[in-house]
């Protein structure tokens, strides 16, 4: 079982906080890999909130090909951090040429695009780079989105963090998501590592998605750019989140109604019965059925946690005004925010969505049986 930790804080924090939490929860993962998402960035990136940042791993040739490709499109480098691995090898971590985090100036004319058009364009660029990289095995790209950095690598989280020097100031962020991997496949594809990101929506999951194939079949037949990949059964959670909020216009309180809808009797009693009944039927192939705890962030930097229908996975949310953390285990939370009021810790149950809004003042619990905030 993987271990997850996410933190949302008024002031930028070092990703090391999350790494520390994963280290405390070490019993639950095998140190086979780590995935990181940093958003609402501090440091130098703070001044360029609109510039898309490309994160990925590149070989020497990969970098050259990337530069050429981006130049052709008219992208100009605005700022970059290169995490150059030290010369000495560390057992269990693969040798890479460069971990690239680079913010770009948009090509001429792109400023005039609407947010939506821009989102599509950025996604296209990311998918193209991914495709090129897969052809020659020289580029792996995790995200290409403003104010967002992602990093995924094989190895023990703490060792990796030290190896890559993740404690640098430039990497501080207000929203951090981290996953410590429990390897369930023999060969690890970095594209199969959490968190998963699409157009500002990001999720990571702890568990197994038993309905993966039908969900994947459904999503990949929607003709929506970006609904591809699926090296991991958990990637669909991010895409369902995107689908329910962007395609269907639901709020975050609607997400759980898509992935784990209420059963017949409860549904009949719900104030939004008609709406939810239709939603359940039309989104039937998106029902997740396995044991899953999902932590995610939204484009406005809200952070949330939902549980599967039976709450078969652990998960806890706690903190203090200005800083809240979402963790697989309480010990992770203790390691990062020891001075919180522990009596206010919340372990969301099978009907709950726990949400911390961008103001980061409290944990809101939204019960599935309550009325929805519908955009009607």
């Amino acid at each position: 079982m993987c271990r997850l930790f996410a933190i949302t804080s008024k002031d930028p924090q070092s990703p090391m906080l999350a790494i520390k939490a994963l280290d405390v929860m070490k019993e639950g993962h095998d140190g086979s890999g780590v995935g990181l998402l940093l958003q609402d960035l501090g440091g130098t990136f703070e001044e360029m909130k609109d510039a898309p940042i490309l994160s990925g791993i590149f070989t020497e040739e990969g970098i050259c090909r990337l530069d050429l490709f981006m130049m052709k499109l008219g992208f100009m480098t605005k700022h970059k951090i290169s995490l150059k691995p030290p010369k000495t090898r560390v057992e269990g971590i693969p040798r890479r040429h460069i971990y690239l985090i680079r913010a770009y100036e948009l090509p001429e004319g792109w400023d005039a695009l609407t947010q939506e058009e821009l989102a599509v364009k950025l996604l296209e660029v990311r998918l193209k780079i991914r495709e090129m990289g897969e052809e020659k095995n020289d580029m792996i790209v995790f995200s290409f989105w403003p104010d967002t950095i992602m990093l995924k690598e094989i190895g023990d989280p703490m060792k990796l963090a030290e190896y890559l020097g993740l404690d640098r100031k430039e990497l501080e962020a207000r929203v951090i998501m981290a996953q410590g991997r429990q390897n369930t496949n023999y060969a690890i594809s970095l594209y199969a590592c959490h968190p998963f990101f699409i157009k500002g929506y990001c999720t990571m999951t702890n568990g197994e998605n038993t309905a993966f194939i039908p969900i994947k079949d459904f999503l990949s037949s929607r003709n929506i750019p970006g609904y591809t990949g699926y090296q991991s059964d958990s990637e669909v959670f991010a895409h369902i989140l995107h689908f329910s909020m962007e395609e269907l216009g639901l709020g975050i309180d609607g997400y759980k109604h898509v992935i784990t809808p209420l059963q017949r009797d409860d549904l009949a009693k719900h104030p939004n019965f008609e709406f939810l009944d239709h939603l359940k039927k039309t989104c039937r192939p998106l029902i997740i059925d396995g044991p899953n705890m999902v932590i995610g962030t939204l484009p406005d930097h809200s952070m949330f946690m939902v549980q599967d229908r039976k709450k078969l996975r652990p998960g806890v949310v706690g903190g203090k005004p200005g800083m809240f953390a979402f963790s697989s285990e309480i010990c992770g939370l203790d390691a990062v925010i020891p001075d919180r009021d522990k009596t206010m810790d919340i372990q969301p149950m099978h009907l709950d969505t726990a949400i911390v809004s961008p103001e980061r003042q409290e944990v809101n619990i939204c019960r599935q049986t309550e009325a929805l905030n519908l955009p009607l």
Binding site: T210, P214, D217, G290
Partner: protein
């Protein structure tokens, strides 16, 4: 027959018959129960002679030669009276003196069941116990990261949708703008397939309807039953129980006069309308109710004269082509109930089914597609159709599902699969396999006749005289002397037993796969089979 007589070509000996009677004279008390119950008069009381010769080696010993006459049971060898293996004689014999046995050799009678130029017709099944569905295993057991689900304790929701489901965006938009959204029913995925009032006896029909009502109202299981082509008793049409019924219309339109006239008086809409274009057991052939079964009641419900055979034409004659037919009929049926009732066609499995499906995807009134495989049952058909025509269900369902998936419409046009589900008794495993191959639900008929009413038919050509009105169990007969053998309450009770136990079995299959709150439609990664070719054909795993 004495040896110096000329033999007719169709003179058969006991050895040529498919079923042979084993009779034990020592146990028989000549009570006559077996001869009375035999549906085909295959056995009769008969005098036999025995010669007793007594000799001795003694010089003055007496020799004697005596003839003794005794009575016993004799099996008839005429084709029309050949034993059908129903074993009713065994059932009624108080002394266990008689039983039919399958002839292990070649049954020569097969060459002669075409007297007067009429080829064999029968009811029942295909008589082939092979089943791909039985061979499919559920191999994706969650062992690593899952706590296993508990089929007995955890919450389950094993229902399915019958009706045209709009894609999410469109559906929610229609809801917002108060547009027309096609009717969708949430039903139990095991549907009682179309068996007509006429093909089935009144007691059987009543029993099934009572069982369905009980399952819905007392057990909370939304089980639905299809009428088959034969109309629907007027009182049922006007009752609240109509909502559990799928009304079938087929090319003979039998009973539809009554149904149309009842529409203004209906308290509830029917669950759905099934338009039958084909039947898996006899594709390309219309329904057939033979004259033996068309009594006064049946004639009245169907709106036909008494005592005539009722063959439905193979096609809906008023239509020009199947595309047109499907489109027009779906529309007219939808209109008849104000677009509140799902309407879907049922076809026999065929390599042309994809074309039908493609048409349906473009017709927003089409509520689904029922596909009936070659193993489907029938009340009456030519043996040649049953034995040699048709398409297996597994690959047909799979092809249609994958086709829908490539169009992104897998949740929009539900597929209901029938034909051979539970043919060897493994109903839940067969149903689950079809669902994971892509069916939204399954239709069953024969299994229910066997399990709920004690039909004695098997895949070894046992009984199968459903067409003749002489059903020894009273299931498919219109003769009151026969159908009184069946108590409707018992049928209802058995039906409830079957659905409840099916439900437990289904949970026992899906729980270890980590599924519980939604039916695992298209979850093909859970399936495996020990044959590489089948695995490739069905796009499932090959396991040995």
């Amino acid at each position: 027959m004495s040896s110096n007589r000329s033999l007719e070509p169709s003179s058969l000996s006991l050895n040529d018959l498919p079923w042979q009677i084993e009779y034990n004279n020592d146990r028989c008390t000549l009570c006559g129960q077996c001869t009375a119950v035999c549906p085909v008069k295959a056995i009769a009381l008969h005098p036999f002679q025995k010669r007793i010769v007594k000799t001795s080696v003694g010089k003055n010993a007496e020799h004697s030669n005596a003839y003794d006459t005794f009575y016993g049971i004799r099996q008839d060898t005429r084709v029309e009276n050949a034993c059908i293996g129903c074993a009713m004689c065994t059932l009624v014999c108080p002394n266990d003196a008689i039983r039919p046995k399958r002839n292990p050799g070649l049954d020569r009678m097969k060459f002669h069941i075409n007297q007067h130029g009429i080829p064999r017709r029968r009811g029942g099944r295909r008589n082939d116990s092979g089943s791909v569905l039985d061979r499919i295993k559920f191999t994706r057991i969650s062992m690593l990261t899952d706590p296993a689900l508990d089929a007995g304790r955890h919450e389950f929701e094993m229902s399915t949708l019958l009706g045209r489901v709009l894609p999410p965006r469109e559906n929610m938009k229609c809801l917002r703008e108060k547009g027309w959204i096609p009717p969708v029913r949430e039903i139990y995925p095991l549907i009682i397939g179309g068996m007509s009032f006429g093909a089935l006896s009144p007691t059987m029909w009543e029993g099934l309807q009572m069982g369905v009502a009980y399952l819905n109202e007392e057990m909370g299981m939304p089980v639905r039953i299809c009428t088959g082509e034969g109309g629907c008793p007027p009182r049922l049409l006007r009752s609240r129980f109509l909502k559990y019924v799928i009304l079938q219309i087929a090319s003979g339109y039998f009973g539809w006069d009554e149904i149309i006239h009842a529409i203004p008086h209906m308290k509830e809409d029917p669950c759905a309308i099934e338009i039958k274009y084909g039947q898996g057991a006899k594709p390309g052939d219309g329904g057939l109710l033979m004259w033996h079964k068309v009594n006064k009641l049946i004639a009245a419900i169907r709106g036909v004269p008494q005592g005539v055979s009722l063959p439905s034409p193979p096609t809906h004659q008023t239509q020009y082509s199947i595309e047109e037919s499907v489109a027009k009929m779906i529309l007219s049926m939808s209109m008849a109930w104000g677009f509140r009732v799902p309407v879907y066609p049922k076809i026999s499995a065929s390599s042309t089914s994809l074309a039908v499906m493609n048409n349906l995807t473009r017709n927003e009134y089409a509520a689904g597609l029922a596909i009936d495989g070659e193993d489907g049952g029938t009340g009456a058909a030519y043996a040649v159709s049953m034995d040699h025509m048709g398409h297996p269900i597994a690959s047909c369902v799979r092809d249609n599902y994958l086709n829908l998936t490539s169009l992104g419409k897998q949740n929009e046009v539900p597929i209901f699969a029938g034909g051979g589900v539970g043919k060897n008794g493994n109903i839940a495993a067969n149903a689950a396999a079809l669902i994971m191959l892509g069916a939204s639900g399954v239709q069953v008929g024969k299994y229910l006749m066997q399990a709920a009413a004690g039909c004695v038919g098997t895949e070894e050509d046992r009984c199968n005289v459903c067409n003749l009105g002489i059903c020894p169990k009273g299931i498919t007969s219109q003769d009151p002397r026969l159908y009184r053998r069946l108590n409707p309450e018992d049928v209802a009770q058995r039906l409830v037993d079957i659905f409840v136990s099916f439900d437990t079995q289904l949970k026992k299959i899906v729980a270890p796969l980590g599924r519980s709150t939604s039916l695992p439609i298209g979850m093909s990664d859970a399936l495996g089979i020990d044959d590489k070719n089948i695995a490739d054909r069905l796009s499932i795993k090959y396991v040995v």
